[in-house]
Symmetry: C2
Subunit: 156 residues, 2 copies
DNA sequence: GAATATACTTTGAACTTCAAAACATATTGA
DNA sequence: TCAATATGTTTTGAAGTTCAAAGTATATTC
């Protein structure tokens, strides 16, 4: 006992702290980048649309909603607003008029690129404070944790 | 180049993935624990109040709002609802009647204990897949990252 | 005792979310 | 064909979350 409990408590407090800090920093970065118009969640919608486009995925409402793990109704509302703000465009499929496809405007693509740069910066910052070996262990550990959660969440 | 970019890309994808998985798992755990009445954010308010109590911190509105990194107005609204739901209690300081102190009810403490068990489980899970050395490096790295963000966010 | 500072609350507005109902279009089977 | 059913999206109603700014109450300072 003792050492193990200390480790657990430390890990927990660091994890919670880093978690909150990343969230806040990410939120802050949006304003700084000049897209004061956008919330973090809206940015993630734009990101999902852009990623779908890059990967040649079928960018219909349902697919994007699923990739974001939100309901179709929620997505409709978010996209309606983002269309009004000029970041996304909706167009109905000619063949199957039930389907709505969503794509980014140039402005949307620029916002997404900005957000990508934030992520790059953050990663660069993290790597800058770890040495070679620590970085390797850290990345490996994160990979393990990621797989672990994936396994845990799919089986239940 | 090459290796560095690979590391950065890997770290980014793992980080994003773990981040989302933790959020999702945490949200899921609330319902499972039987507090269907509470959102994740409400639980975090209760947690901040309980932690403040344990640490003998002055549990006034301002201190709790700051620890949660939300505005006082936001906290007021959250606490008013949580008081109505029976998780928290507010009482004005006798000496300085401007100050409102917030404390958990028994129900609030029970909800927090439940949430604490979720965190314990998660930490145990993470530690179980890392060996002794990896765990030490991982914790140290997280601590560095936490300090780094704290420094970055306070200075700007 | 008036001016100022401090601590919290209220207000108004915008965003986020969901479940369920509604709508539009497509497919299927008699 | 056309009625039933399925599919894809939108609307609706309700509740949460958040902030900035204005408001209220109390305390401190000069």
């Amino acid at each position: 006992m003792g050492f193990t409990e200390d480790k657990a408590a430390l890990l927990n407090s660091f994890l919670v702290e880093v978690f909150n800090q990343i969230l806040k920093t990410e939120e802050l970065s949006i304003d700084l980048e000049g897209f004061k118009n956008l919330s973090l969640k809206e940015l993630h919608v734009i990101e999902a649309v852009c990623i779908g486009g890059e990967q040649g995925r079928d960018n219909c409402s349902a697919a994007i909603a699923e990739s974001l793990r939100i309901t179709p109704g929620t997505l409709t509302i978010a996209v309606a607003l983002l269309e009004k703000k000029g970041y996304l465009i909706r167009h109905r499929d000619e063949k199957d008029k039930r389907i709505v496809r969503i794509s980014p405007t140039d402005l949307g693509r620029r916002a997404n690129a900005c957000h990508g740069r934030f992520h790059d910066e953050m990663i660069k910052d993290i790597l800058s404070i770890l040495n070679e070996d620590e970085a390797a262990v850290f990345i490996r550990a994160l990979g393990c944790i990621s797989s672990f959660f994936r396994a845990k969440n799919t089986k239940s």
